[in-house]
C-alpha cells in the first residue's frame, strides 16, 4: 500500500487535541463506539456494544464491592405511586421538577398518577417499613442497579448529564443507632475509594454545605474530581439520611428492651457517569486509554503481513489469541486494513496493550508489545508473554493513576481573599477560608460566581473567613462545576 493511501486512511482516524476538551469528548464517544447520540429524545442515549461492555465491567466492580461489604442485591419497581413519593416533604420538593409522570396509556387514563423513579428512596423505604420490625432485622443493606429518570433542565451532556441514567447503582441501608449509620457512611466512602482506585481515578471527598445537601438528608459527602476542561464533577454521593425518611415512612424497630425507635439510614450511588469521567481523565489526543479492569479488549493482536509469509504469521496470531484468552480479554484484528490503520484504530478505542506480529516475530519466537499510554515498544520472548502483559497492564494502571493524581493535586489552590480567587478561576479547585456559616458560604458563591463543592471537616483552616474576617473554620472548596 502506498504512503498516500496510508495517509488517506489515517486521516479518518481520531486526532483531536484533548485541550479542546468539549469537542474531544463529544467526538471520542461516537468514534470509539461508546454511545450513539442520534436518538431523537434529548438527554437519552443509545449505548453501543463496545461502550456497554466497558460499562458492564465497571458495574461488576461495584457489585463485587457491595457484595463483599455485605450488601444484598434486590429490585424495586420503576413506577412509584404519587402518594408514596410525596411522603418526605424535602425530597418531594427537591425532585418534583425533574420527575416524569405517567397518567395513562395510549388509549386510557389510569385514574391515578405514577411517577418514574428519579432515585429509589421512596419505593424502597415504603418496603423497608414492612421488612424491619426488630433489632434483629438490622442492619439492612440493599442495593440495585437500575435506570432512573430525571428531567434535567440544565444543558444535557452525553453520559454526564442525561435524562435517563441507565446504570444507577444505588445502595440503601438502615441501622439501629446513629453511630452505626455514621460507621456505614465511612464504609460507603471506603467502597467508593476502592471503586475509583480501580478505575485509576483521583478524587477529593467533600462534605456538602448545608444549603446544597441532598433532598431529605442530614448531610452528604461527595466525591469530586476535576475534568480536563478544569471543571469539577461529582463522581458519587454518600448520604446520611438520619431519621427523616424513617419518620416519613414509619420505619421502626423494636429494641431488645421492648421499646421502639426509628431506624437511621444512609444511601449512596454512582452511575455511568463514572465511565464518562474515566474516559475523560485518562484519554489523550489519539483517543481513549482504558484502565485494564474495564477495557472491553485488553490485548489486541495485529498481524503485520508481507506477501508469502502470511501463513506463519496468521497461525501465530491465532495461537496466541487462544492462549492469551485464558488470561485476558483479547482479540485479533483480521480485517483487510493496513497494520498502520489498525494501530491508530485500536489506540483510539483505548486498548491498553497491542501485540504486533510479523515474520520477524515468528522467526525469533517473540512478540512486539506496545503500550497504549506511553507508546513504548518492547520485544518479548513468547515464553515470557503472559507475565509481561500482566506486568504491563499493571504498570499502565499505575501510570494512569499517578497522572490523574498529579493532574488533580496540581489543580488545587488555596487562597486567602476573594481577589485571589479571580486570579485562579480557570481550571482549578479553590480552597477558600470560611467561618462555616451558611451566610458567608453563600456569599462566597455569589461573589465569585463559582459553585461551592463542599469542605473537609477534618482539615483545619488557619486563615480568616474571606467574607466576615472571623477565624476560618474550614476551607470551602469552590470551582466551576458540571
Amino acid at each position: 500500500m502506498s504512503d498516500e493511501k496510508k495517509k488517506e486512511e489515517a486521516k479518518y482516524l481520531f486526532n483531536v487535541p484533548k485541550s479542546d476538551f468539549s469537542r474531544w469528548y463529544e467526538e471520542i464517544l461516537e468514534k470509539a463506539d461508546i454511545i450513539d447520540k442520534r436518538y431523537p429524545v434529548k438527554g437519552m442515549l443509545v449505548w453501543k456494544p463496545y461502550g456497554f461492555k466497558a460499562l458492564k465491567l465497571m458495574r461488576r466492580i461495584m457489585e463485587e464491592l457491595l457484595d463483599k461489604y455485605g450488601h444484598q442485591e434486590a429490585y424495586f419497581p420503576a413506577l412509584i405511586p404519587e402518594e408514596v413519593f410525596e411522603k418526605e416533604r424535602d425530597f418531594l420538593e427537591g425532585f418534583s421538577g425533574e420527575t416524569f409522570v405517567v397518567e395513562g396509556t395510549l388509549t386510557k387514563k389510569l385514574g391515578r398518577r405514577l411517577l418514574l423513579r428519579p432515585t429509589s428512596e421512596t419505593v424502597m423505604y415504603y418496603m423497608f417499613s414492612q421488612w424491619i420490625t426488630s433489632h434483629r432485622d438490622l442492619p439492612l443493606k440493599i442495593y440495585q442497579t437500575v435506570n432512573v429518570f430525571r428531567y434535567e433542565t440544565e444543558h444535557t451532556r452525553p453520559i454526564i448529564r442525561v435524562r435517563e441514567i441507565m446504570n444507577f447503582i444505588e445502595a440503601h441501608t438502615a441501622h439501629a443507632t446513629p453511630e452505626e449509620a455514621e460507621a456505614q457512611i465511612k464504609e460507603g466512602i471506603q467502597i467508593y475509594k476502592k471503586f475509583f482506585d480501580r478505575l485509576c481515578l483521583a478524587y477529593v471527598i467533600l462534605r456538602t454545605p448545608k444549603w446544597d445537601t441532598f433532598a431529605g438528608a442530614e448531610y452528604n459527602y461527595d466525591f469530586f474530581t476535576l475534568m480536563p476542561d478544569g471543571r469539577a464533577i461529582e463522581m458519587g454521593s454518600v448520604i446520611n439520611l438520619g431519621q427523616k425518611f424513617a419518620k416519613a415512612f414509619d420505619i421502626k424497630y423494636m429494641k431488645p428492651d421492648g421499646t421502639y425507635e426509628y431506624v437511621y439510614q444512609t444511601c449512596y450511588g454512582v452511575s455511568e457517569r463514572a465511565l464518562a469521567i474515566t474516559i475523560s481523565i485518562h484519554g489523550d489526543d489519539r483517543g481513549i486509554i482504558f484502565p485494564s479492569e474495564i477495557a472491553p479488549i485488553q490485548v489486541i493482536i495485529v498481524p503485520v503481513i508481507f506477501k508469502g509469509e502470511q501463513e506463519d504469521v496468521m497461525k501465530k496470531c491465532l495461537r496466541l489469541r487462544d492462549e492469551l484468552s485464558k488470561h485476558f480479554r483479547v482479540e485479533v484484528d483480521l480485517s483487510e486494513k493496513t497494520p498502520g490503520y489498525k494501530y491508530y484504530y485500536w489506540e483510539m478505542k483505548g486498548v491498553p496493550v497491542r501485540l504486533e506480529i510479523g515474520p520477524r516475530e515468528v522467526k525469533n519466537y517473540e512478540v512486539t508489545v506496545v503500550r497504549r499510554d506511553t507508546g513504548e515498544k518492547r520485544r518479548v520472548p513468547d515464553s515470557a508473554l503472559v507475565e509481561e502483559i500482566k506486568r504491563t497492564l499493571e504498570d499502565i494502571d499505575r501510570n494512569l493513576r499517578k497522572k490523574a493524581e498529579e493532574f488533580l493535586m496540581s489543580s488545587i489552590r488555596e487562597v486567602s481573599s476573594l481577589e485571589e480567587v479571580l486570579a485562579h478561576m480557570n481550571g482549578t479547585l479553590i480552597k477558600v477560608p470560611w467561618c462555616g456559616d451558611d451566610d458567608c458560604g453563600m456569599k462566597i458563591e455569589e461573589r465569585t460566581g463559582l459553585k461551592a463543592l463542599g469542605y473537609d471537616p477534618e482539615e483545619e483552616c488557619k486563615r480568616d473567613c474571606v467574607i466576615c474576617r472571623r477565624p476560618g473554620k474550614y476551607y470551602l472548596w469552590i470551582g466551576n462545576k458540571y
Copy 2:
C-alpha cells in the same frame, strides 16, 4: 428442645399441597423470599435478594448463550417518542392499549408524548436504519436486558403477568436475505432450547396461528409448557419480522452489486417468567426445588449439635464451608433454630443439597448428604465429598428434567372430534386435527372455549379437520392458557 416446641416451629414452615397450585404459587413466592407483593401498584413487584439472586443466575445463562452465538449487548432508551413508536402500524395497534405515556413532570408539560417501552423494536430499529448501510454491516445481532412496561388489562399474576417486566432479555437481528433470517429463527430456537434445558424444563415449540401472530411479524414460534394447574404457558417467543419493520423504519443496505434492499429481521425474548415457570414446575408440597445452575445456594450446611460436642462440629462446618465454596455456592446455617427447623426451612427455599454434620460425622470423617428432590440420605467420606456433591447436583438436574418431561408428555392428548375435546379439557394440551384455514382454527377456539397455542409445521396430521371435515393439514394445539 421438646417435641412440642419442634412441632410448634414446624407449623410455621411451608406445607401447602401443590395440587392446590394457585395457593401454592402465591405463598411460596413470598415465604421463600422470592418477591414481595405488598407494593402498592398492581402488577408491580419487589424482588427480594434471594429471588433476585436466582434471577440473576438465570440471566447469566441467557447472556452467556447469546454472547456465544455472536450477539452483542447494547442499551436503548426506555422512553420512545410517539412519532417513532407509530411507524409500524400493526405494531402500534397491537401495543397501544398497553403502552404507558409520559406527558410531563410533576411541575411541567413536555409538549410531546414519550412512551415507556413495552418492547424495544421501534427504538432499536430507528437506530438500525442509521447503523446499517452496507451488506458488510450484516448480520447485526444485538440484545439488551431491560425493564419494559405493559398495562395488562387481564388479571395480573406475580412474575407471570405483570405490568413491569423487569428482566426482559430481548434479542434483535437484521439479515441480508430471507434465508438468513430463517436460519436465525432456527438459531434462536436452538438458544432457547439450551436455555430451558439448563433450567431442566420441558416444552413444545409451536408456530403461532396467523390470527395471533406477534404485532408486526410475519410469523412466530412460541415455547410452551404446561403449568401444574394444567394451563399452558408461553415461555418465550422467536419471531420472524420479515421486512415489515425494515420498510417502516427504512432499514436498507447496499448489496455487493450496488443495488439496495430492505433487511430481513428477527427478534426473540424471554423474561423473569422463565424463573416463575422453573419454580412452579419443579417444586413440591414442601417448597421450591431449584435446578443447580440457578440455585442461589447450592449446598446448605446444617450443624447438628449436642451439648459438649459443639466445638468440633462447628469447626468442621466452617472448614467445609470454606473448602466447598471453591466449587459451589454454599452456606452454613449458624442460627439458633433446631436442626429440624433448618431442614424444613432450606427445603422450602429449594436448596438442592443439604449437609448434616454432627458428632458422628466428625468422628467418622464423613458427612451426611441429603438430596432435596428425593429426600435420599447418604453418608459420604470427607475425601469424596466434592465429587459426590457434583454428582448429586447433576443427578438432581437429570431427575427434575425427566419429571418435567414426563409431566408434559403425559398431558398431551390427540383427539379426532370436538366432543372428545370436552372430555379432555382439564389439564391437558389437546392436539386437534385442522385443515389449516384461519376460519376453522378460530372456530375450534370458539366452540371449545380454549386458546389456540399453535401448530407444529413439521408434524403430519392424518385425520380430518374437526370443523370442515376436509383432510387435516396440521394439529392445532389448544388448551387453557395463562
